[in-house]
Amino acid sequence: MSLVDDLRSALSHDRVLEEPLELHLYSKDASMMRGEATCVVLTETTDEVAAVVRIAEDHRVPIVARGAGTGLTAGASPTEGGIVLSTTLMNDIEIDVDNRTAWVGAGVINLDLSTYAEPYGLHFAPDPSSQSVCTIGGNVANNSGGAHCLAEGATTSHVLGLEVVLAGGEVVVLGGEAPDSPGLDIKGIIVGSEGTLGIVTSALVRLLPLDPDVRTLLIDFETMEEATQTVSDMIAAGFVPAALEIMDQKMMVAVENWLHAGFPTDAAAMLLAEVVGETEAVTAEAALISEMAYKNNARGVELAEDEAHRAKLWKGRKSAFGALAQISPDYYLHDTVVPRSRLVETMDEVQQIADRYGLDVYNVFHAGDGNLHPLISFDASEEGMLDKVQRAGEEMVAACLRNGGALSGEHGIGLEKRDMMRASFTELDLDAQARLKEAFDPEGLFNPAKILPEGSRCFDFGGTRRPIPEGAWV
């Protein structure tokens, strides 16, 4: 039987898609790289996922898991063909209030989980900007962060267990509510592995209690340097708030045109700072933030008056990338991370690179973590533009690495940064990672060609991986 016939007999006719338009819709994530799947399957149960994995192995075709497709590095783009497995129909939530945990289907939307948990006085800490659409499965695959992982850590710190379909269709449940599961932390290595080691069908996540009190401050500066210096000063002084986000003027203008969040568009940069906890703590900490901001020549500090005001500020922050649609047809968002003491210098270098290429760069980033998101706006229909944008982007990443940084803070490597891995790691380092992949996926069918550059396995002369295909960039 053909691949599609096999899949249809394992699932149902209507949950195996193969029409050209359907395939096109699933041909890329939110990155700029496109692939082409043979078919798309919409699984509803773990057993179905296991069956799809076995069928993929029988037909020796790749299998690419996908949540909402908000990834930015082509992690969910089927660039090697094969099956795209969408988890969006796997969206059960089972909450355990006493243990402050929940088993959550891979297709559950991040924000839906927190909304569901709110009546119990709980929430899920990782809050990527795409949280109103991205899925838990995608968060697990990318070890997603977000504004509030500064104090609470990224997704991996909140995943206590996983149900995973491994090679051969084997279903395992790893971890649990009890701490320190014996043996190797297989669950931990699957988090952030971008669907290359197996397919996560469900996650046991930690839920945190809602904070008794919160203070959100909007601080505006006449220079970007003063804003970043304020953040560096806070961390250096041993003060880690719940969130520390910076946005530059150009980005504020774009957001204001659309959402009217109340951002100071005449300022060069704004710092959105938040502290949570006991009332006595947040009162004192908000005062400390103001003091440090004024020491760095802040023009003004505005305290969110109520929950509605706070929500508006955060909506403005989290919708920033969407606001770019009014500026240019395309944007290329980078994600790198530098030591927090190197923020000022790195931001400066990024701007210089953009100037040299004559490109518009917008900045909105998780300053407290040193996690930069320079965003280049452009029109891909302009001759030679995409190439220019790519080269500038690569220089920006290189500048971050020179400042002691890493390739990606929260978006992942996927296909986009795969070939830059050699700038961060030695051949032996990459070989060790390739061996890990091999232990999980000897046939190389789980999301092939992602994370590791071709030939990462030392002495791997005839591997099945190919260079990034011509035309993958859209």
Partner: protein, 365 residues
């Protein structure tokens, strides 16, 4: 016994190591690599020695080589303004935390470590008593350098606090008991220590419900205490709400002592029930909100029933220290963990001859 010259040069005197066991104390990655390559080539079991405080786990095989990490005790880089530190695997926790305290920082490693080293605590997966608020040791490890069983020097992760560049090997080595390699260098994420702290003795752990996310709620045989830290005003206000005897600072208890020591791990909501189920005479220190209960006893009586109960609710009863041959027919880890064959395949990629600490991991790995 004869050994190649470059190995003999690394020979060192290590207290307690029998004469027929080769004791070495390398000081560089290359030296560790040459020892491990030699051990792999000649199939010799290597015991990696830090502070020797976590040597009671699992069913270790008799070592032919003891590799001391004593010379990997340096601070390679400390960037207080970035809240990161890079240390050698043999760095004693107490010395590191003492140094960090001078700048009001902590690596959130175990509070009463004895002679434990950073590499040892990571390998054994030991966490701080503050883990309910500040998370466990796995959340602190940003970068590791490993020397694999076949002598490759491998680095993974990075010296930044947020990083998804490649597979998360730094977290995989936590609790791996050296099965992926000898940890020679570690970059840790630090946390600021706020200006004020208080230990409040309470009658019942439910008293802590008036505090949002306390630093720790600990219960031992003779004491229940809530640990608070933060700004002066916060600590004063919160301590007042708890209405118990106040001890300024963080008055950490020590793990209970006994000839047999255990780690009981249960879902957090079962912590009080677990304490009620302990056999008579067993001493305990429980971390509420986490389900991490450290136990000591002088006999194994009741251990089987306790383990059955724990495993029935998704927990574990693990032997962490026992006199030789005192627990025949009692697996130190209990039922084997899931995906054991996958674990074996992963380990084989790093320590193909399985020479580093074999038998310590659960499932006899």
């Amino acid at each position: 016994m004869t050994h190649p010259g470059d190995i003999m040069r690394l020979e060192a005197e290590i207290a307690g190591v029998p004469a027929d066991v080769l004791a070495v104390a390398p000081s560089t990655n290359d030296e560790v690599a040459s020892v491990l390559r030699y051990a792999s080539d000649s199939n010799k079991v290597v015991d990696v020695l830090g502070g020797g405080t976590h040597h009671g786990y699992g069913s270790p095989r008799q070592p032919e080589i003891v590799l001391s990490m004593g010379r990997f005790d340096q601070t390679e880089a400390w960037n207080p303004e970035d809240l990161t530190v890079v240390v050698g695997g043999g760095m004693p926790i107490e010395r590191l935390e003492g140094m960090l305290a001078e700048r009001s920082q902590t690596a959130v490693l175990p509070e009463v470590p004895g002679s434990s080293t950073v590499g040892g605590a990571i390998s054994a997966g030991m966490s701080s008593l503050r883990r309910g608020r500040l998370y466990g040791t796995r959340e602190r490890v940003l970068e590791v350098t490993l020397v694999t069983g076949d002598g490759r020097v491998v680095r993974a992760g990075g010296r930044v606090v947020k990083n998804v560049t490649g597979y998360d090997l730094p977290r995989l080595v936590v609790g791996a008991f050296g099965s992926l390699g000898v940890i020679t260098s570690i970059c840790l994420k630090l946390w600021p220590v706020p200006p004020a702290a208080m230990t409040v003795i309470v009658d019942d752990v439910s008293a802590a419900d008036v505090v949002s996310r306390p630093l720790a709620v600990l219960e031992s045989d003779d004491r229940k205490a809530v640990f608070i830290w933060g700004t002066e005003s916060e600590v004063e206000a919160v301590s007042g709400r708890l209405r118990g005897e106040e001890i300024p600072g963080l008055d950490w208890p020590v793990d209970p002592a006994g000839s047999l020591r255990w780690s009981l791990r249960v879902p957090p909501a079962n912590t009080s029930e677990a304490i009620a189920k302990l056999p008579g005479g067993w001493r305990y220190l429980a971390v509420h909100g986490v389900g991490d209960i450290r136990l000591a006893s002088d006999s194994r009586q009741g251990a089987g029933a306790l383990r059955s109960w724990a495993e029935g609710i998704g927990g574990r009863l693990v032997v962490t220290e026992s006199p030789p041959a005192s627990l025949p027919d009692f697996d130190p880890w209990g039922e084997p963990p899931p995906a054991i064959e996958l674990q074996r395949r992963v380990i084989a990629q790093f320590d193909p001859r399985r020479i580093i600490n074999p038998g310590r991991l659960a499932g006899g790995l």
